[in-house]
Symmetry: D2
Subunit: 346 residues, 4 copies
Amino acid sequence: MVKVGIIGSTGYAGGELVRILMGHKEVEIKWYGSRSYIDKKYYEVYQNMFQIVDATCMDDNIEALAEEVDVIFTATPQGYLASLLNEAILSKVKIVDLSADYRIKDVDVYEQWYKIEHKSPQFIEEAVYGLCEVNREDVKKARLVANPGCYTTCSILTIYPLAKEGLIDMNSIIIDAKSGTSGAGRGAKVDNLYCEVNENIKAYGVASHRHTPEIEEQLGYASGEQVTLNFTPHLVPMNRGILATAYATLKEGVTEEMVRAAYDKYYADEKFVRVLDKNVCPQTKWVEGSNYVDVNFVIDKRTNRVIMMGAIDNLVKGAAGQAVQNMNLMFGFKETEGLELVPMFP
Amino acid sequence: MVKVGIIGSTGYAGGELVRILMGHKEVEIKWYGSRSYIDKKYYEVYQNMFQIVDATCMDDNIEALAEEVDVIFTATPQGYLASLLNEAILSKVKIVDLSADYRIKDVDVYEQWYKIEHKSPQFIEEAVYGLCEVNREDVKKARLVANPGCYTTCSILTIYPLAKEGLIDMNSIIIDAKSGTSGAGRGAKVDNLYCEVNENIKAYGVASHRHTPEIEEQLGYASGEQVTLNFTPHLVPMNRGILATAYATLKEGVTEEMVRAAYDKYYADEKFVRVLDKNVCPQTKWVEGSNYVDVNFVIDKRTNRVIMMGAIDNLVKGAAGQAVQNMNLMFGFKETEGLELVPMFP
Amino acid sequence: MVKVGIIGSTGYAGGELVRILMGHKEVEIKWYGSRSYIDKKYYEVYQNMFQIVDATCMDDNIEALAEEVDVIFTATPQGYLASLLNEAILSKVKIVDLSADYRIKDVDVYEQWYKIEHKSPQFIEEAVYGLCEVNREDVKKARLVANPGCYTTCSILTIYPLAKEGLIDMNSIIIDAKSGTSGAGRGAKVDNLYCEVNENIKAYGVASHRHTPEIEEQLGYASGEQVTLNFTPHLVPMNRGILATAYATLKEGVTEEMVRAAYDKYYADEKFVRVLDKNVCPQTKWVEGSNYVDVNFVIDKRTNRVIMMGAIDNLVKGAAGQAVQNMNLMFGFKETEGLELVPMFP
Amino acid sequence: MVKVGIIGSTGYAGGELVRILMGHKEVEIKWYGSRSYIDKKYYEVYQNMFQIVDATCMDDNIEALAEEVDVIFTATPQGYLASLLNEAILSKVKIVDLSADYRIKDVDVYEQWYKIEHKSPQFIEEAVYGLCEVNREDVKKARLVANPGCYTTCSILTIYPLAKEGLIDMNSIIIDAKSGTSGAGRGAKVDNLYCEVNENIKAYGVASHRHTPEIEEQLGYASGEQVTLNFTPHLVPMNRGILATAYATLKEGVTEEMVRAAYDKYYADEKFVRVLDKNVCPQTKWVEGSNYVDVNFVIDKRTNRVIMMGAIDNLVKGAAGQAVQNMNLMFGFKETEGLELVPMFP
């Protein structure tokens, strides 16, 4: 059994990691790190785990952890892992980082959007961007995986085939994304109180959300061009789910058949990406609790734009599920191990 | 007291008309039309009206109604009013039509998008498009007002100042709109069941929603150009509210100050349109139950696009409230009579 | 115009007071007290009030306030008013206290359930328990009104006629109450985050909730007996509304007609209490945004128990609305002034 | 592999059966019966099953089904199975009936509460009431299992230990239950529309709900007394979950230790019943998606009543999960096979 440690196990993404790993046959969790709940039973923080997890929360000691486990998941604030990582740690343990610390290759871009200094830029080059459907082979060989953001996973996978195949004008991309509230984390803030979110919808981080450069970088690699785009996130009154509605202008001569062929080319063999039947729009509820990404598109001939849509569960494919998928690749497990989660409806 | 009749008084928009008119000092409702609930007490259909409305639902007899009342609100399916309207009726009574029958000036466009034959095109020319902030003077003189759609009210008012002032490229407009579920009406459909809508978000009517040509026509008048745009509606798990997030490319040299000045020019004196302070994004909850439209914008210098946002209560400014505002203008009442509704939070 | 000051104007009950008083013809708010937001525009705290309230939040200085206004509403934590009140203040200004400080006549009971020392027990005797339907005449003469709690208002009015008429065994009462989340206030606590409340229901404060002795005391006055009962509150995923489902054993020989007659006797002339038609169960949505209490009952002949049900909007009749109703009585205004709020549906 | 047929596979309980059986190692579904969707792909009805279930919906032909499969689940309206069942069928196939047809031993009681004639009373005696924790040994030998109702499963398991041990006055029981909306089924009814359920709570079926006699019968067996009780269901704005809050008077001399010992006696070894730590109240969210029942209690010394609380997922332990648990027992599989579902939070 591979031994797992989690730093930040009591946030929503950490909790989801625990839920998923409970059903994974090849691993056991050895360390439930949680600075806020040290010495408290894990199930006292998440009562759903009562009689399932008996462990006690421990401090977030990455040095000690590196001695005891084979892989560490860090579900921690931006800058945390970057401030601690060193070669000694990485030589002992593999790391899947759910924060943004190693997602962006250009350290200046990182520091500009995140407004913090990067404390260990020397590992950025080595880190593999863990979007399995795109970087599968690199992930298999990685010591350090930068697990993609929730909005970015959804946005990139929704647009990727058309970017890669050169079917759209890369300067015309607009992504209007909608997320459930678990994406905002478990911190006690007035803005995330039930009464503030319920019966309400708003945009936030307009033209300034940190996932923007991550999407731009990855779609840049796909298309071979520098990409600048609009990304607007919205907060939706639901627990889980992200829907990305993306708009782009089709290049001349691009037909519906060509667009569908592009999606099929990249996703026909992908277990976790489902290209829906024509005229079926993705709905977040249909992927809830699962690692699926549902994608589809509509072409508007009047404007010559394609409307691409993608739906994920932000805590699964957008965080913990993808992290487990990365771990599976890194350790040579079956890629779907622990992830054959059937979406729950209703 | 002006006498009011409502045809379709037991749909959600009809119910909201009743709620608002209960607080209107100049009118009394004489006819609660409802084909589905004839002879039933109105409060048995909407128990919130118990001990407030004692009337009984009546058949939808527009001829009889025209004899008895001064103004008729029709909150009816598409094609209903068009199939019944004639000069005899219009000579006796004013009509505010909440359906789409007289909103679109080009009957071919209407028939193409609505897939029904228009039975009384002779009144289309006369009908005034009842967006009060834009067509106030015409509404005052009208016999027949076409009350704008919910999505269209929100979308047009969000974009109008920039279209009118020529600050944006009219071919670049993309509107991504999100609506609460009351917009889908009170019909018993599986798709609108609690368990299907709750914890879910989806796009629908992509590149084919009927409000598209209405928005295009009105923004065309504003800009003096033919406009073709993308409009994508989404269903959000909340009762009320529409948020429109609209994207457009700024024309060369347009500055933030010019954009703000445009909003102020058209809305500074408008009671029901609130241009929010810089960096404050509209939220549907802040206008709930009221006739307000909250608008604001952000400029993304990286892409040279402006992101315009607008929020309304779809049942008030998007339906019943605007209908009352139109009636107020048509009868020379104070425009805000019955509409000084403070938004309810939370 | 009567001048109003609010201490605690930025909590949910305070915000609702502002909403209601905006529609009140006889008063103007002179002081928006909020220790947390001093010098901030009130509309920056509650954006629904943008362009409606232009005032700035002020400190909670009750001495200064007493000089400037005619009536103070205190929507403050338990013990706050009791620690400050003195004869000098009360000689200058009337007070409607939305906290529990003066609701319970027996100071020992207060201190035992609230776990705090009462700092001004000398005013308890004078304070009038502001349940208008029961204590109307006393309220009219009061300087200091203890505005009832939300659960208690709903519970007492649901049971009152049967207690008063001696139709039920007072030792058999069980109240199972369900509340929306605004009752938990606007404090930033993990337990009240959207993701913790949504898709969830739980009981809390079982056998220990502070509203218990308040209900017992008032039903004791009604019945002329000492009353001990069970009260269990539950948290429901909705913003507003309390539903109380109360159970009691009928005394021998009590018939359905007698029970209905009791409700009619006390409520037939009460504007804000609606006794629903037979077989219609109260629903919180039907009173949302209004000052109504909807009540009804079912008799179970198999067990000889009566099931009494009552629904209110916890922020209106359960807090701010009732406070305004009390103020109306204290100042000789029409009792319904500012309170003719039609429930909003959906 | 044991072959499974489902009649009524496109209701919510049917859909949940499919979700759970997808993860069951010993069975395969051979027949997706759905009278409403014959010849339609199952995934077109439930898009969450896209690329997971490829089968087509078939007619509800129980005779044909009995030839092809080893076990039939009937998730059908009351009276359906009773009208078709015969010895020929039962001699070929085992049946788990999710309807109420064989739950109640007294056919008069069934006909009185369900208002339909029972067409095959000859099988009532043989049918085993499939509450596994209570009737495990009988279920193992059964051909026909009557799967308990959702409210009843939750209510009975919450009260059972105290009834069985004689710790409470059986005539004092009051059950106040709260259910998510999936319990109302997938039929298109106005009452279950999003806008009618959302932001609302109501009691329904007061003193007349059909689960009442089922609870009374089972608690009667447990206590050895005839039991008459009050059961009041409420509709809560959430998809899944039932919370039962039950009240009873403790017999003289019963202590907290005795009550806890009773729960431990019956549930310490039960995988699916979790007796929570003292002072922890069950929450439906903590069992969502799982087969768990969380129970706990509080004693109110002031009234000498015990407040018992239980939470389940109505579609799992209250329907499909318990049905699979019964099947596991009937076929000698591991009782937990397919049911090791970790609750999903948030």
